[in-house]
Structures are given as structure tokens and as C-alpha cells.
């Protein structure tokens, strides 16, 4: 589904990603871990197409297409979704209006019919229940005044509505208490399917107790320095990142 080859990316002239290779197949869940400043969020953002990241080398293939050649919204239309670490507050933009516009934009791009108001409301209520998002928040402005947990649930709700092929969760666990973490993880687990892949970017191993990855990669200094199965998470919990960084330097 996703093949990243020797991806190099700079931010303001400074190279952050120094050659990433990663292959993600449909049905798989990959975790990307690493210390602060290792380039985890940069990887997530460059895949979603955020401004300010210069790709200086390598390529990314997503469902057989050159991902880096696509506009931000085209990536979303193709089925890429980024759940953000810091969801943006949009005062005055109604959450329901936003969700509906978003869903219909993606449906149009897929050649499907737009969803009518009744069908949409049914769907959004059901999905909101699944991610335990208070229905009152649907009527408010997007993320404006939401708590950290509510913002993350709202991200998962968007993901559940758009049903992407590949979802990237960027530090979705940051700032969450244990209950919120569990709800968010449940929401993510519900999305697991043989047709869908997930990349979970996280600083802490905690989230992986709830979302079990098939593969785990350690990113450090802009490179994947180690890959393994889910058991690697526990090793990292025990030993920290130090041994990997030393091993890599040696």
C-alpha cells in the first residue's frame, strides 16, 4: 500500500529525514517510535503534504501512485488520513458542517454520491457514540474550547467517518489520561481491517499496550535504526532508546 524509499526531507534548510525506507501493506499496523527530535512528526507531516517540508530525495508510492506529487486534498481523496498531534481550533466553523463537507468531498472524489442530510446525521451520531464523543460537541465550532481528550476523539471521529485506506496517527496519545487513551485506542482498533493500514507514531510505549502493532520501527536521527515486532516495545520500555542509538553509532 505504502512504499517509502530513501526519503530525505529538510525543514528550513536543515535535513531532518536522512533516508527513510518503509513498506506498509494493507491490513498491517506499524508503530514508529523514537526520541524527541528524531523526525517522527516530520515523517507524518511530509506524508500528509504539509507546507514547509522540502523533499530532497527519495520517493513515496501510495496505492501505486507517486504520493509526493499529489496536493494535500488529493492525498485525502486517495484515502490518506493524518490524525494530528495538535488538532487545529477553527472558531466559527461548525463541526457538523465541517464533517459533512469533508465526507462529501472525499465521496465525490471517489465517484460516490454525496450523502444527504438525514443519512449523514445518522452516520455521524453512530460514529460519535463509538468514539464516545458528546453529541453537543458536534454542534460546536471545530475543536474550539475542546479538552485535549475531546480533540483527539474528534480526530478519531473524522477518521471513522472518512474511512481512509491508510491512517497515520501522530502522537495521538499525547496529553491523554488513561480513560481517554483507552477510548481513542478502541476507536483505532475498530478501524483495523484487512483493507486498511495504520501507522501509529508515538513517543511512549503506553499506547501500544492498547493498539498492538504488527511491526515496530525506531526512528533516530532521521533514520529507522531498528525494526522488529511488537515485543520490541517492551524492550524499549525496559531499556530506553540508548542502546539502539549506541548500536547504530557503532
Amino acid at each position: 500500500m505504502l512504499r517509502i524509499r530513501d526519503l530525505r526531507t529538510s525543514v528550513e534548510g536543515k535535513e531532518i529525514l536522512k533516508g527513510i525506507d518503509l513498506e506498509v501493506k494493507a491490513g498491517e499496523v506499524h508503530a514508529v517510535m523514537g526520541p524527541n527530535g528524531s523526525g517522527k512528526s516530520t515523517l507524518a507531516h511530509v506524508l500528509a503534504g504539509r507546507d514547509g517540508y522540502q523533499v530532497t530525495g527519495g520517493d513515496v508510492e501510495f496505492l501505486g501512485q507517486d504520493l509526493l506529487d499529489l496536493e494535500v486534498e488529493e492525498r485525502a481523496h486517495k484515502g490518506l488520513f493524518l490524525a494530528m498531534q495538535y488538532p487545529v481550533e477553527l472558531p466559527g466553523v461548525n463541526n457538523l458542517t465541517f464533517l459533512r463537507e469533508s465526507l462529501n468531498a472525499v465521496r465525490r472524489a471517489r465517484g460516490e454520491e454525496e450523502m444527504d442530510a438525514v443519512g449523514f446525521m445518522k452516520l455521524v451520531r453512530r460514529k460519535a457514540d463509538e468514539v464516545k464523543l458528546d453529541h453537543k460537541l458536534l454542534k460546536r465550532s471545530v475543536n474550539a474550547g475542546f479538552s485535549g481528550g475531546e480533540k483527539k476523539r474528534n480526530e478519531i471521529l473524522q477518521m471513522a467517518m472518512l474511512e481512509p485506506r491508510l491512517a497515520i496517527l501522530d502522537e495521538t496519545d499525547s496529553g491523554l489520561d488513561i480513560d481517554a487513551l483507552r477510548t481513542v485506542a478502541d476507536g483505532v482498533n475498530m478501524m483495523r481491517s484487512p483493507e486498511r493500514a495504520l501507522i501509529v507514531v508515538t513517543h511512549y510505549q503506553r499506547l501500544l499496550e492498547y493498539i498492538e502493532p504488527d511491526h515496530l520501527h525506531v526512528l533516530a536521527g532521521g533514520r529507522i535504526v531498528h525494526s522488529g515486532g511488537k515485543e520490541l516495545a517492551f524492550e524499549l520500555e525496559e531499556r530506553g532508546y540508548g542502546w539502539l542509538l549506541e548500536e547504530n553509532a557503532a
Binding site: A76, A105, Q158
Partner: protein, 442 residues
């Protein structure tokens, strides 16, 4: 001779000629008022850029258009304008087409509300109604308002009886057609709410053509003790039109005025809102949203005068500018020495969608009392790139994302229009207006 002084003498002659030609049965009693307004006009002349209040707003283009004061006797029947009426129940409707009152389109039979029009009040010498006309505005504070007094021919006169609470809005709509082309119309409205009356007035200026004309409006609003008015105003004139509105609001004890103004049309528009508190305990809220695009100028001047203690004022205006659109915002609050325990807050935020757009914003707080709560804030910003990325990452096109963010910015003001269908309609207008302009704006 300069353009202006030439224009003043031309206008003076034309106005004198106009007044002399008025039929005697049409408001002859007003003739003295008219002549004194002509004198006033001659003294004041037209405003120019040397005056601080007109520094950023040139009237040269307006004078060059050479609009002619003339009356329309056109009386419209039929349904052609019905789709411009407010949706839902109303407590009266007053319709003007090209400046002339339209009896068959209007609904003036509302128990407890006297709805009349200036022209018929003049024709019937209804002094009871007419005596208040001009009491708040005086003979004019600048040349144009003096000309309004000198040549006014029609307008709405609305008086809501003491204690009456209207649960539906009064619809006051002025529609300009292609016949208005080249003309100056000088409507004058007078709205009085007697003691403890409550009402909502929706006042709109629309056009069915793209022609150039000039609306030179004066509107006086008097709220007696304990009265409460929600005043929703929409300026949606033709894209070539000129629109100059002077609002004079006076609030007596414990009265409450909440106004919301949307300026979206016209090539050139200026709205001056003056509020004065006549007695303690009153409150005045002024909200506004203006949009200015290619070739457009929009100007709002607010002048809130706290001359008595214990009154509240709050002003919140927002602007969206694109293309080479220009806006002027001047919010003046004067808290006089004796006006202790006043509260006055002013906020103006502007969203610039283009580098070529221009805003001149000037909050002016003059506070002479020492026991008051006052604040002001002004911002000028662009669309947040992070917000744009967020929306696009959810599949929205850049154009659609920009529009949604603009509407979000406007929503705080639009909500003041209360009626859902009016809000939706105005949101749609805003989207149409900024639609193509926001695409790849630079």
C-alpha cells in the same frame, strides 16, 4: 474653482430649484426646515480629506458621477419583488422601490404599531407624526445629511406603542431597480419605540440591477425608557452603487439597542452610527461585518457618546478584504467626565485575503471619567495556514477551505441576525461574493 466648490454651488442651486418646485400640498410645513438645511449645506459644503473623519474616504468619485436628485412616482403591483421579503412571520412590512413607498407591497396594519411613510405624512400634513423628524439628526452634520434634510421625499415612520412586545420582525426593505440609474435617493427613516416596547427591525438595501445610483440615507432611532430594539441592517446595494447612511440613536433610561450591520454591496459605502445616552441604565451594542473586494470601498464610523453615568456600550466589527478592496473603520467612544460607572468595549478584527487589500482602522477611546471599565482591541490578520492545511487534509479543496474559514470568521457577527433563514441567506451571499476571489488569492 475646485470640483468641490463648483459642486457645492451647483447643488445649492439645484436644491433651491427642487424645493421651489415641490407641490404645496406635499409637506409645505417642512419648507422652513428645508431652507435651513440648504443654508446648512452651503455652510458645511462637502466633506473632504482634510477632515479627520473623511481622511481615508474620498467623495471625488461620488461627485463625478453627477447623481441627480429626482423622485420616482412609480407604484409597483404584482409579485415581482416578493422573493426579497423576509421569510417567516413579520410584524409589518415597509417596501420602497427606487425611493418611493409601495403601498400594495407593504403591510402596515399591525395592532399597536403606527407604520407610515414620510411622503404620505407630508401629503396629509400629519404633524403628529412628522414633528419628530430631524430631532436627532438636526439639519445635518455634513453636506450630504444636510442635502437629505433639504430634499427628503420619502422614508419609513414607525412607532411602536408603549409596552408592546412584537414577537416577529418588522421588514423594512428598499429595492433599487434599473430605473434608479443615475439618481440620488435621499430616504429618511424615523423609528420610535415608546416606553418598554420591544421590537426587531430588519432594514435592508437591495438592488435588482448593476447600475450606479446613490442612496443618501438618514435614519433616526429613538428608544424611550425601558424600550428595546434589535436592529438588523443589510447593505447589499448594486456593485456600482454609492451608499451613505447616517444613523442617529438616542437611548433613554434603561433602554437597550442591539444593532448588527452587514455591508456587502456597493462600490462605495459609508455608514456612520452615532449613539447618545440620554439617561442612565441604557445599553448599546453595535455589531458589524464588512466585505470589500476589487474596486470597493467600505467605511464604518461609530461614535458612541457616554454623557451620563451607568451605561454600557459594546462594539464588535469584523472585516474581510480581498482583491484591492479597501475598508475604513473608525470607532470612537467618548466617556464624559460625569459618566462614571460606564462600561465601553470596542473590538475590530480584519481578515486580509490579499496583499493588495487595505484597511485603515482606528479605535479612539476618549475617557474623561475615572471610574469606568473600558477596553479596545484591533487585529489585522491572514488566513491561518495551519487551519487551511487541516481542512485540506480532510479532503476540502483549497478554495472551499478558504471559504469555510472566512465564514467561520464572519459567523460571530452573522449569528446576531438571529433568524436562521436570514443567516443562511447572508452566509450564501458572502460565499458567492468571496467565492472566486479567494481562489489562489495573493
Amino acid at each position: 474653482m475646485t470640483l468641490q466648490s463648483q459642486a457645492v454651488s451647483d447643488f445649492q442651486k439645484a436644491t433651491q430649484h427642487y424645493i421651489a418646485g415641490l407641490p404645496l400640498d406635499r409637506g409645505a410645513w417642512l419648507t422652513d426646515h428645508r431652507w435651513s438645511a440648504v443654508t446648512r449645506f452651503s455652510d458645511l459644503g462637502f466633506p473632504d480629506k482634510r477632515q479627520e473623519a473623511w481622511r481615508y474616504t474620498s467623495i471625488e468619485g461620488l461627485l463625478k458621477q453627477g447623481f441627480v436628485t429626482s423622485d420616482s412616482d412609480m407604484e409597483v403591483v404584482g409579485t415581482e419583488f416578493e422573493h426579497h421579503f423576509l421569510d417567516g412571520p413579520t410584524a409589518g412590512r415597509v417596501v420602497f422601490v427606487d425611493g418611493a413607498f409601495q403601498p400594495s407591497l407593504s403591510d402596515t396594519h399591525v395592532p399597536g404599531v403606527r407604520i407610515n411613510n414620510l411622503r404620505s405624512a407630508m401629503e396629509t400634513s400629519d404633524l403628529e407624526t412628522l414633528k419628530s423628524v430631524g430631532t436627532l439628526s438636526g439639519p445635518g452634520t455634513h453636506g450630504f445629511s444636510a442635502l437629505n434634510m433639504a430634499t427628503m421625499r420619502d422614508g419609513a415612520l414607525i412607532r411602536v406603542s408603549a409596552g408592546l412586545r412584537l414577537d416577529a420582525p418588522i421588514d423594512l426593505v428598499s429595492i433599487s431597480t434599473s430605473s434608479a440609474s443615475g439618481r440620488a435617493m435621499r430616504p429618511r427613516h424615523l423609528i420610535v419605540l415608546e416606553q418598554d416596547a420591544e421590537a426587531t427591525l430588519v432594514e435592508r438595501y437591495l438592488s435588482t440591477s448593476d447600475n450606479a445610483y446613490f442612496t443618501n440615507l438618514v435614519c433616526e432611532v429613538l428608544l424611550e425608557e425601558g424600550a428595546s430594539l434589535v436592529h438588523q441592517r443589510v447593505q447589499q446595494e448594486s456593485p456600482s452603487a454609492y451608499h451613505l447612511a447616517d444613523l442617529h440613536i438616542e437611548l433613554q433610561a434603561d433602554a437597550s439597542y442591539r444593532g448588527v450591520n452587514l455591508a456587502i454591496g456597493g462600490a462605495w459605502s459609508r455608514t456612520k452610527i452615532g449613539n447618545s445616552f440620554a439617561a442612565p441604565g441604557a445599553s448599546c451594542e453595535l455589531h458589524g461585518l464588512y466585505l470589500a473586494g476589487e474596486g470597493q470601498l467600505v467605511d464604518f464610523h461609530l461614535d458612541v457618546d457616554h454623557g451620563v453615568p451607568g451605561c454600557d456600550s459594546r462594539e464588535n466589527f469584523r472585516g474581510i478584504l480581498y482583491g484591492n478592496g479597501r475598508a475604513v473603520f473608525d470607532g470612537r467612544i467618548l466617556v464624559q467626565k460625569q459618566a462614571q460607572k460606564s462600561s465601553a468595549h470596542l473590538s475590530n478584527a480584519n481578515l486580509m485575503l490579499s496583499r493588495r487589500a487595505e484597511i485603515d482602522t482606528k479605535p479612539q477611546l476618549e475617557i474623561l471619567a475615572d471610574d469606568v471599565m473600558c477596553s479596545h482591541g484591533t487585529t489585522v490578520g491572514q488566513i491561518d495556514p495551519q487551519a487551511l492545511f487541516y481542512l485540506r487534509s480532510r479532503g476540502l479543496s483549497e478554495e472551499r477551505a478558504r471559504r469555510l474559514l472566512c465564514l467561520g470568521f464572519a459567523s460571530e457577527i452573522l449569528e446576531q441576525f438571529e433568524s436562521g433563514s436570514l443567516q443562511d441567506h447572508l452566509a450564501e451571499l458572502i460565499q458567492q461574493k468571496i467565492g472566486s476571489e479567494t481562489k489562489g488569492a495573493s
